[in-house]
Amino acid sequence: MSEAREAGGWEPKIVAFLCNWCSYAGADLAGVSRLQYPTNVRIIRVPCSGRIDPLYIVRALQEGMDGVLVSGCHPGDCHYISGNLVARRKFALLKSYLDYLGIEPGRVQFSWVSASEGSRFAALIEKVVEDVRALGPATKMVKTPVGVQAAGAAPVGAK
């Protein structure tokens, strides 16, 4: 664990949606190759980057993720031929739209990682973690956690 975490400091929490065929295998290769990369990332495996609904990304931000990474096969290498190409349009529009609303561009990132690019995966995670660390904890769109009282509200059960 890093020094910051031992000292009780803030560590970015990042969710990564990785496609089963390329990016997840790339992450696996990074592990098998014993490459070091930050431990701030929680991986969710999806069948294809085309499987990712923009609402997944919005939901991750709502649930307090400091960063979201989406990664699939390089264009032309999709296991399902064109899943990532259809997804690319969706991602380009979503990224532009979230930026437009004022959400920091570094919070939501998209990339391509193939199954043979373990080192690219490790470098990518380092970059994303660095970007998000520079931005600080997410505050926009984050839901009030369950059980936390809004300021000034009477405690639960108070008469």
Partner: protein, 329 residues
């Protein structure tokens, strides 16, 4: 009564008499001045209820898909009706979009194109009256004689023109089957001015505006109900497995609803501004809905609903699509 209105009534009477349509969706005078409401004409004797003018802002395409729903549990052979629709540019674009999405049979819809001079924004009319109420109004060639609680007044279409209509790229119906001739407004040269002004603001200013606008949302879902593109049987906002939008009074959920709703219109929105007019809280939705059509046109060269040809932008791809947004380690 304007010439266009007379011609419209005659044309629709003929279509009904000849049996070319079973039903026509049009506008009739609303119960309040400067308002109109949709009317469904099945009988040629009712055509005099139809009106046409700058108060007919409703997007009538919203009402079409439900007219083609096959009755459940019926053994009778299903014969879909032929439906005529009084269509401005935006109504016709919505119809063509719905045809592309297989929600309407094109051969069963008769698009009756009317020349659109732009629609009034009733809020602008109310603002210009300093609190006086409108009792009655009479429209005549671009001007409105308005009788108010503070006396009579003349308002012009130009001063009340809706923001969306000022930036309209298609004031006349594309691919109309029947065309009513008349003076339509010219297609706007400069578009997306509001979006460009918003883009020029800083991220914090944009976020503050988004927050302050969306925090007024009361979740009546009128923006969704009135949208011709929102025909899903179960909307993501109503789903419970998974529950995308929490039930609590939570700003984050309001934002997620609006992002979800607006994003579902990517490459489909025809910029009719029905959602803007429907909002009871006067939320500035336009600045948020217009970004996607602007991006889709800039990135993929696709404009929704202008022709029955062409695949919607998000149902297809090109190998050379822009990928400047991709993060490189």
């Amino acid at each position: 009564m304007s010439q266009v209105e007379t011609k419209l009534r005659e044309t629709i009477k003929e279509l009904l008499d000849r049996g070319e349509v079973d039903l026509v969706v049009g506008h009739e005078a609303g119960s309040l001045p400067l308002r109109s409401r949709p009317v469904f004409i099945r009988d040629a004797a009712d055509v005099d209820r139809l009106v046409w003018g700058s108060t007919c802002s409703n997007n009538l395409a919203t009402h079409l898909p439900r007219l083609f729903v096959r009755p459940k549990n019926s053994r009778a052979e299903y014969a879909p009706p032929t439906v005529g629709i009084v269509a401005k540019g935006c109504d016709a674009r919505s119809v063509l979009g719905l045809v592309k999405e297989h929600q309407l049979p094109r051969d069963k819809v008769v698009i009756i194109g009317v020349p659109c001079a732009g629609m009034i924004d009733i809020r602008k009319a109310e603002e210009s009256l300093d609190g006086a109420r409108i009792i009655a109004a009479q429209e005549e060639a671009g001007t409105f004689k308005v009788e108010t609680t503070a006396g009579e007044k003349v308002l012009t279409l130009a001063e009340m023109l809706a923001d969306g209509c000022a930036e309209c790229s298609h004031p006349t119906a594309p691919e109309a089957d029947v065309v009513i001739e008349g003076d339509a407004r010219p297609a706007a040269g400069e578009r997306y001015l509001q979006v460009e002004a918003f883009e020029a603001m800083t991220a914090e200013e944009r976020w503050d505006h988004f927050t302050s606008e969306i925090s007024r949302c009361i979740r009546c879902y009128a923006c969704r109900q009135v949208c011709p593109n929102c025909y899903c049987v179960t909307c993501f906002a109503d789903q419970t497995k998974p529950r995308w939008i929490g039930a609590a009074d939570e700003l984050s959920d309001l934002m997620a609803f609006h992002i979800g709703r607006i994003f579902h219109q990517a490459g489909r929105c025809v910029e009719c501004d029905a959602c803007v007019r429907a909002c009871p809280m006067d939320i500035d939705l336009r600045v948020f809905t217009q970004k996607l059509p602007k991006d889709v046109e800039a990135l993929y060269g696709y404009v929704a609903g202008v022709s029955a040809e062409g695949v919607p932008a998000l149902l297809t791809f090109s190998e050379n699509d822009d990928q400047g947004f991709i993060s490189e380690p």
